[in-house]
């Protein structure tokens, strides 16, 4: 419960082939380093869940980790398309990618239901859209008091939920602030969880706008400074907009992507193995 460990050990224990894995972070506090560790550990057949799959999921999809993607907006924010995602959807490369598509409101409420221990959530959403026909996970539900028909979506309860945050204390209590998106919900909805943090401190002094997750609601905490890059951690780093721009060219081409994968994400493996040798 809130056990402090290394990123490598946490991912090795949590992520397994075929798992349903959710990395969340709404532009801010995206656990990119954790996603790349999953790539390094060679996980396969994952069902990846995320409201806004962006660069880190493009990387994981391009690396062949994913069998299915559950999402509501897949793009490179402010830049354009996710080319590895498109290549997987349109051409099945490197492996076919099944998709299940929702709206943000639907995904957010699916996490809410998951965090609340309910099998479904109710919202005013999807009505009249063509999304309804594409997934069995959007159904009508009738209010037992008024007779009004609304929309139900099933809870999301990933095997593993991963987020990045600013700080934890030595007991593993986590503190985050700024845009916290669905951070709390995904940790609470998931069977097991990991929070990567910028730093571990002796004491979490109160801060305006801070959200706290008590250590006993989290499986692992790992100190990974810069672990959200190219996303950012308010108070610690700025969003690396150049990286988002540069990703467009890297990801457009399979070979360029392969080179990037070998020279950056996978090189770190060799470095780690070198350490051990």
């Amino acid at each position: 419960m809130g056990e402090i460990t290394s990123l490598r050990d946490a991912i090795a224990d949590l992520a397994f082939d075929g798992a349903t894995v959710a990395l969340e972070g709404f532009t801010h506090l995206i656990p990119v380093a954790a996603g790349q560790e999953i790539i390094r550990q060679g996980r396969r057949d994952l069902t990846l869940v995320r409201m806004t799959p962006d660069i880190v999921y493009d990387q994981m999809i391009g690396a062949g980790c994913a069998r299915k993607l559950v999402f509501s907006w897949a793009g490179n924010p402010g830049v354009g398309s996710l080319h590895r995602f498109r290549d997987a959807v349109q051409n099945g490369w490197p492996v076919p990618l099944e998709i299940e598509e929702h709206s943000h409101a639907g995904m957010a409420n699916r996490y809410v239901a998951g965090a609340a221990g309910l099998p479904f959530a109710v919202l005013r959403g999807y009505v009249g859209t063509d999304l309804v026909a594409q997934t069995p996970n959007i159904k009508p539900i009738t209010c037992p008091f008024t007779g009004e028909v609304l929309t139900a979506v099933p809870a999301l309860n990933p095997d593993v939920g991963i987020v990045h945050a600013q700080r934890a204390d030595r007991a593993g209590n986590v503190q985050m602030w700024g845009i916290t998106g669905v951070h709390k919900e995904v940790v609470l909805a998931s069977k097991r969880s990991l929070v990567t943090v910028e730093e571990i401190v002796d004491h979490l002094d109160p801060r305006p706008g801070a959200v706290i997750l008590p250590h006993w609601a989290i499986t692992y905490v790992a100190e990974v400074p810069g672990g959200a890059h190219p996303s950012y951690a308010m108070g610690y780093s700025e969003r690396d907009n150049d990286y988002y721009q540069a990703w467009d060219a890297i990801s457009r081409d399979r070979d360029a992507f392969g080179d990037w994968l070998t020279s950056t994400v996978m090189r770190e493996v060799r470095a780690i193995l070198g350490d051990q040798a």
Binding site: P77, E101, K184, R239
Partner: protein, 251 residues
């Protein structure tokens, strides 16, 4: 002072926002226009982003809906479930400000796939994001999109966000609480739904644009209002504020 069609579009969109309105802002051009409005005629415009920032007052143009400047300058930052459930869904937001890859005769929006087959699309687009519920629940919707026959189509390939469905009465039948698209603002002019037919109708052209240019850039036989007005030219102040915003945002 001369200006581009792109600048005219953004300025026209900014003007459509009344001061004090609560505006749910999508990223890209809608965000530029909303921030321009705040810096010109609508200093008390309330900017709400789906990242959970309410009352953001960014000094520079955000590049994403979750930039730090939005959180730092907001009146309050709430969770993503809360922004959708407590603020958008019950109809507290006056204006939803959306873009589109395709928009059709009845103001329906597609941001999902181009092509007939969802499972094997010609082009895979980013998807829905917050748009379906913004289009459903805001009191009214303003769509900002560059005009071309590829974007303005008879029928969208995929209905991501509902405008007027297949015509009058559809929104009520679907139980959608907001009024739907009130304005579609392009680089050529402005369209509004016909009060009788709900069909998008050209009601205004930007300075120097002939109605025929707009009809040529539309993939259906575009209706033109009997009394067609012309958008007032951008003022020097508007252009300066817009260029200043874009300069800050970088190339």
């Amino acid at each position: 002072m001369s200006w581009s069609a792109d600048e005219m579009m953004t300025i026209a969109a900014a003007r459509a926002l009344r001061d004090g309105a609560r505006c749910f802002v999508g990223i890209g051009r809608p965000s530029t226009a909303a921030n321009l409005a705040r810096r010109t005629h609508a200093p008390d415009l309330v900017l709400i982003y789906e990242s959970g920032t309410i009352g953001a007052k960014p000094g520079t143009l955000p590049l994403s809906i979750g930039d730090g400047v939005l959180a730092e300058t907001a009146d309050t930052v709430v969770s993503v479930p809360e922004i959708f459930n407590y603020w958008l869904q019950p109809g507290r937001i006056d204006v939803g400000f959306l873009g589109a890859a395709q928009i059709d005769r009845y103001g329906n929006i597609n941001t999902t796939v181009i092509g007939d087959d969802y499972r094997s699309p010609r082009v895979r687009l980013p998807g829905a994001g917050g748009a379906p519920e913004i289009a459903a629940s805001c009191r009214e919707v303003i769509v900002v999109v560059k005009q071309s026959p590829r974007a303005f189509v008879e029928r969208v390939d995929f209905v991501t966000s509902v405008g007027y469905g297949s015509g009058p009465g559809d929104r009520a039948r679907l139980g959608l609480t907001g009024r739907g698209p009130a304005l579609v603002i392009t680089d050529l002019g402005i369209m509004e739904p016909d009060p009788e037919t709900a069909e998008l109708t050209l009601t205004q052209v930007h300075p120097g644009v002939a109605p025929a240019q707009a009809t040529a850039a539309t993939g259906w036989p575009l209706a033109v209002a009997g009394t067609l007005s012309t958008t007032p030219e951008p003022t020097a102040a508007e252009l300066a504020a817009l260029r200043d915003l874009n300069r800050q945002a970088g190339p």
